[in-house]
Symmetry: D2
Subunit: 224 residues, 4 copies
C-alpha cells in the first residue's frame, strides 16, 4: 500500500499566524513517525520559517512565475530551494493563474529538485495539470471549498472523472481530493474513490483543537 | 534636525534569500544605535522572521487588501501585527494596486497601529497617496528604477513637484525619494531637494559588500 | 452659465444592446439642440458605431493603455480617433486601472485631440485624476453605484471634498457626480453642490422608458 | 473532404480600424462562395458591426465571463447573440484567462447556440480546452506569434501532440494551427500535419495587400 498524503493548507486563518502553527508542526512530525501517512503543511509565506524549524515537510501556498531579481512583493519560484521548502501548492482555487504561469512555476520547481501540487477546479483543469508533470494534482470544486459539504459525498464524480482524465496522461500521477472535507470519513471515502489523499484547510484550521483534527484525518487515512 | 530615513527594499535578489539578510539586519541595528538615521529593512515575506529576529524595524514589501480567512497565497494586511512587522511598503512600482486597494491596506495598517509607506510613480500618484494618510510617501519614477541613473540628479523636479503636491494635502507628511540612487551623494542630493530620506534596493542588494553600501548611505544621510 | 453635462453610461444592461441604443441616440441629439445641456452617450464597444451613426457625442466606456499592434481583445487608446468617438470614460469603478495606466490612456487621448473623463471613487482619487489633466473628473462612491441611494443626498461631502481636492490642482476642471442618482432632483442637488453635471446608468438603462428618463434628467440639469 | 477553416484575427493593427476591414469582409464573402473554405473574421469589438454588415461569419476577439448588467468596459459573453456574431475567440495568447473563466465563456456561448474557438499555447492547454467542448481548438506557441517563423515548420510537434491530446478527449474536435504562418505553404503544411485550418493575423493585416494575402491562404487551404 502506498503512503497516503494529507496536505493541510493553513490559508490565512487567524490560527495560521498564532502558535497553532507550531502546534501543527509538532503534531505533523509525530504523525509522520508513527503512521504510513505523509503530512505536508502549507503555511502563509511569512510563517514558513517557523513551521520549517519543526517539521521538514513544508510547502508554500503560492509562488510567482518569475526569476530572482528586481521583483517586489513576489516570491520567485526560483527561490523555493533557498527557502528550504519541499515544494509548493500551485494554482489554488483562491490564487488561480493562467496556464502558462502554472507551467512556469511547476517547471522551475522541478529544475530545483522540488515538488509541486497543482490544484484544479475540474477534470478539465486536472487534465491540463497532468501534462505539466507535477508531483501531484489536487482537485477541488471551488463551490464546495469551506462549505463542509464534502466533495467525496456530494460530487464523487469530480474525483473519478479527474482520475480518468489524468490517467490518460500519466497513469501513475497521484490525485488528491479537496473541498468540504469535514470528517475523517470524508477523507476515507475520497481514498476509496481512488484518491491518494486529501487537501484540507478549514476542518483543521477552524477546529477547536487543530492538532487533534489533523490527527483524526491522518489516522483515518492510515487505515483507508 | 529630524531623523533621516533609509529604507532598504531587498526585492527578490539572490542576496535577499541568503545570509546577506542577516548581515544587513545586524548592520542596520548597529547603524540605528550610532546615527540619527532610521533604517527600515523590507525583505521578501518568507525572510521577514529571520530579519526580525535581529533588527526590529522591518516592513513587508506588500500586503493584500483582504482580511484574515480563506485566502491562499495572500498575506492579509490584517495579519501584519501578528507577524511582528512595523509596517509595509504599499503600491510599489513592481506591485501596483488600484487606488481603492491601496486605501484599504493603508487603513488596515493604521487600525493595527502600524505604519505604511505608499509608493508613487509620479507627483499625481503622490498626491493621491497623501490623501490616504500613510506614514510616508515614496516617489520613484519607474523608468529609473534599477538603472543607476539617480532620480535626484536626472529628474529632481519629480521630487520637488511631489513635495509640493503632498504638502497641499498634509504639510507634515515625509517624502522619500527612490529610483537609481547609486551613491551616497545621490541620497544627500535627495535630502537637499526636500526628501526625508531614500528608498533603495539594487545599490545595496547587488553590491559586493551590501552592509558596507548600506552604511555609506546611512552615514551620508546622517550628515545631510 | 456654463453648459451642464449629462453622461449616460449604457454599461452592459440588456438595453445597451437592443434598439434602446438607437432610441437614446435620437433623443440625445434632440436634447442637445433644444437645451443648454451636453449629452454624452457611452455604449459598449460593439455598439459604438450604431450610436455614433445618430449622435455625434459618444465616448467609449474603456480603452486599453496600449498602442496599435499585436493586441487581441484590447481597444488601444490610440485607436479612439479612428473609431470616431469624442473621448472615453477612464478608470470606471467597474474597470479600475492602476494609476500609470490611467495616465497613459488620458495622455494618448489628448495626443489625438480627444477628451477623457477620469472616474474616481474618492476625493483622493479625484485629486490624482486632476493631475493627469483630463477633460473632466467624475466622482462615484462605489458603494452607492446602482443602489438608488443618491450620492448628492447620502454623501454630499464626497462631492464637495472632491471639488476642493481637484481645485487645488486645477480650479477650472469640471467635476461630475455619480452613483445612486435616481431622480432629476438628485441631479439638481449635485449641481447645487458644485458639480458640472452627472454620470448616470441604471436610472436610464433600467427605466421603463429610457429616453424619457434621460430627457427628465437633461431638463432638470438645464434649469439647475 | 471536410471544409477547411481560415480565421483572420485583425488584432489591433492599424488596418483593423481603417477601410481594410471592409475590404477583407468583401473578399471573405467572395472566397466562401467560390471555395470549400470557411473564412472567419475576428475584428476588434468596435469594428464588428462594420464587418458584419458585409460578411456574416464574424467572431469577437474576446468576451468577458460575465452576464449582462452593471459592467462597464466589458463585453458579456451573454451579449454575443445580440451582437449578431457567430462566435468568439477565447483565451487568445494575448488575452489569457484562468481556466474557469474560459469554461464560463465557452458555456455561455453554447447556451446561445454560438461557437467558440479556444486558443492554447501548448498541448497541455489544448487538452484542457478540449474538455470544455468548444467548437474548435487553436494551438499557437506564443514565442512564434508575429515572428514569421511558422509553427508548422519550426515546431510541428506542437500540432501533432496537440492533436493527440485533444483526440483523447474528443476524436472529432477540429484543431487549428497558428503562430508564424507566413506563406500559403505554411498553411498547407499545418493541414498535412492534421490541422483543420489556420489562425493568422500579421501575414494578412501587415501585408501590402491584405485581401490578396487572405485569398492566397484560402486558395492554398482549398487544395490542401
Amino acid at each position: 500500500m502506498a503512503v497516503r498524503v494529507l496536505v493541510v493548507n493553513f490559508k490565512a486563518y487567524p490560527t495560521a499566524f498564532d502558535s497553532t502553527a507550531e502546534a501543527l508542526a509538532r503534531e505533523a512530525s509525530r504523525l509522520e513517525s508513527g503512521l504510513p501517512v505523509r503530512v505536508i503543511l502549507a503555511p502563509p509565506a511569512p510563517v514558513v520559517p517557523r513551521v520549517l524549524a519543526i517539521h521538514g515537510d513544508v510547502y508554500t501556498q503560492h509562488l510567482d512565475p518569475v526569476g530572482m531579481g528586481a521583483h517586489t512583493g513576489r516570491i520567485p519560484a526560483e527561490a523555493a530551494r533557498a527557502l528550504g521548502v519541499r515544494g509548493s501548492l500551485v494554482n489554488h482555487s483562491e490564487r488561480k493563474m493562467v496556464l502558462r504561469d502554472v507551467a512556469a512555476v511547476v517547471s522551475k520547481l522541478r529544475e530545483q529538485g522540488l515538488e509541486s501540487i497543482v490544484c484544479a477546479d475540474t477534470p478539465a483543469e486536472a487534465a491540463a495539470a497532468a501534462y505539466l508533470k507535477p508531483t501531484m494534482v489536487a482537485v477541488e470544486p471551488p463551490e464546495l471549498i469551506g462549505t463542509g459539504i464534502p466533495v467525496s459525498k456530494a460530487r464523487p464524480e469530480v474525483i473519478t472523472e479527474s482520475l480518468e482524465a489524468i490517467r490518460k496522461v500519466d497513469p501513475a500521477l497521484p490525485l488528491l481530493a479537496g473541498a468540504g472535507i469535514s470528517s475523517p470519513e470524508d477523507a476515507v471515502r475520497a481514498v476509496e474513490l481512488g484518491a491518494s489523499g486529501v487537501l484540507v484547510a478549514s476542518i483543521v484550521m477552524k477546529s477547536r483543537d487543530p492538532p487533534a483534527s489533523m490527527r483524526s484525518l491522518a489516522e483515518a487515512l492510515a487505515t483507508a
